[in-house]
């Protein structure tokens, strides 16, 4: 990585992590009910929360 520039891993580690959480979240509710559903909500809430946070910051209230 040269001065100030970020490598591919630095750029994509968050997106890859959130993508994995999303994928596990989508499958969890399919595989079972009850606790599996709850796990799914929890995991899918992560990308959602970051997105909503960004939206609030962009609109100036966050």
């Amino acid at each position: 990585m040269k001065g100030g520039e970020r490598g591919l891993w630095a750029i994509f580690r968050w997106p890859v992590g959130l993508g994995l959480l999303t994928m596990i979240g989508l499958l969890a509710a399919l595989l079972g009910d009850g606790p599996w559903d709850a796990l799914s909500w929890l995991l899918l809430a992560a990308p959602l929360a970051i997105g909503v946070g960004g939206l609030l910051r962009a609109s100036g209230s966050g």
Binding site: I11, P15, L18, M23, L30, G32, D37, G54, L55
Partner: protein, 379 residues
């Protein structure tokens, strides 16, 4: 990445997005109320309730249920019988003028499973929700509209993939989730577009891809039916003649099918001639007992005339993909919180589409304005 490669990806992202964005905005907006179809149905009092009866009240034979439904809709033929999703004591019978229709004019009868009395005729093909449904599924243009929206879905997938490629050069000098508020509106829109696009990436790909598969439902089921019929024709004695079903044939078909697979539950009965059955057989669709296998149905074919049971050809992978594509597209498989998450991610996707459109429009205006400014300078 070489500047030339980057330009090609930028071109792909721009044009795939531009072509599909308006359609995707309509799909996102019309899909929003559809996520809550059941809840809206209940809140508006359209849901049909069965009267309370003592536990263990015996159930009427299915043939009586079907007879009651046909009496309610004279001149119509039964296509499918299935239990209400929330009330196992309620059968829904779908009828139409012919068994091989596209079902756009189909009617329903809701029949009490114990008394075989018709409790109502749910109407699914009128009203605001049906308008949203058709806008979401086929633009009132039948199979052609479906396949067109599927093609727009393919463009969406291309647009998402090219967007991920372009994400890297934009983020070379930025921390994840940066929104530069102190810069121009253009930059703020860009940061928002990149952030929301990347966090909703996997969800949007899954909902997009499963939506595309759903547009192929008819093609997938017809191919399976053709395969089924070819196997039956090749098996001596298995091909059934089209004959009217005797009284008791429906219940017998279900009883036989369930006895052949004791671990399964009844999902749906398809009448001979319909898309899920063959011209001479009932198809009894059985689902597994676990939450996952309940999503996957396997048919047992029962000869309508003789009542003989026939092993159906195993479900091809295309049908498995189709059956799994339904929950993964609708978001209806993890109770109300999952539906709310679906709705919020849908709203984020609307912002991604809108911000993309704004970015394109602003850039275009700037590029058009630039030569004029340069011209004014020289004169």
């Amino acid at each position: 990445m070489a500047p030339r490669t980057l330009r090609i990806w930028a071109w792909v992202h721009k044009w795939t997005s531009l072509v599909c964005t308006l359609f995707m905005l309509v799909l996102c907006i019309s899909g929003l109320p559809l996520i809550f179809f059941d809840e809206i149905d209940h809140a508006t009092g359209n849901a049909i309730a069965t009267p309370a009866m003592p536990a263990g009240t015996p159930r009427a034979p299915l043939d009586a249920v079907v007879r009651a439904a046909v009496a309610q809709h004279p001149g119509k033929l039964p296509l499918y019988v299935f239990a209400d999703e929330h009330d196992p004591d309620l059968w829904l019978v779908k009828l139409d003028t012919r068994v091989d229709t596209d079902e756009r004019e189909a009617v329903f009868a809701a029949v009490d499973a114990r008394s075989a009395r018709v409790l109502g005729t749910p109407v699914f093909n009128e009203g605001l929700m049906h308008f949203f449904y058709r806008l979401h599924v086929d633009w009132f243009a039948g199979q052609g509209g479906r396949l067109f929206l599927g093609a727009m879905g393919l463009l969406l997938v291309l647009s998402i993939v090219s967007g991920v490629v372009l994400y890297a050069p934009f983020m070379r000098k930025l921390e994840f989730a940066t929104v530069r508020r102190d810069r121009s509106p253009q930059i703020r829109w860009l940061d928002l577009h990149n952030l929301l696009g990347i966090v909703s990436l996997v969800w949007a790909l899954v909902v997009g891809a499963t939506g595309i598969i759903n547009t192929w439902a008819d093609v997938i089921l017809k191919a399976w039916q053709a395969e089924q019929l070819a196997v039956l024709r090749a098996t001596p004695g298995a091909a059934a003649a089209s004959a009217p079903a005797r009284d008791g044939a429906v219940q017998q078909a279900v009883t036989l099918a369930l006895a052949s697979r004791p671990q399964s539950r009844l999902h749906l009965v398809a009448f001979p001639g319909t898309l899920l059955a063959t011209p001479g057989h009932f198809a009894v669709m059985l689902a597994g007992a676990t939450p996952f296998t309940a999503r996957l149905q396997e048919p047992v074919l029962v000869d309508a005339a003789s009542g003989r049971l026939t092993q159906a050809t195993p479900r091809p992978w295309t049908v498995t993909a189709l059956q799994l594509s339904q929950p993964l597209h609708f978001g209806d498989y993890g109770a109300l919180p999952l539906k709310l998450i679906w709705a919020l991610l849908d709203l984020l996707t609307i912002v991604v589409l809108w911000s993309g459109l704004v970015l394109w429009w602003r850039k275009r205006r700037r590029v058009r304005a630039a030569p004029r400014v340069a011209g004014a300078m020289t004169t």
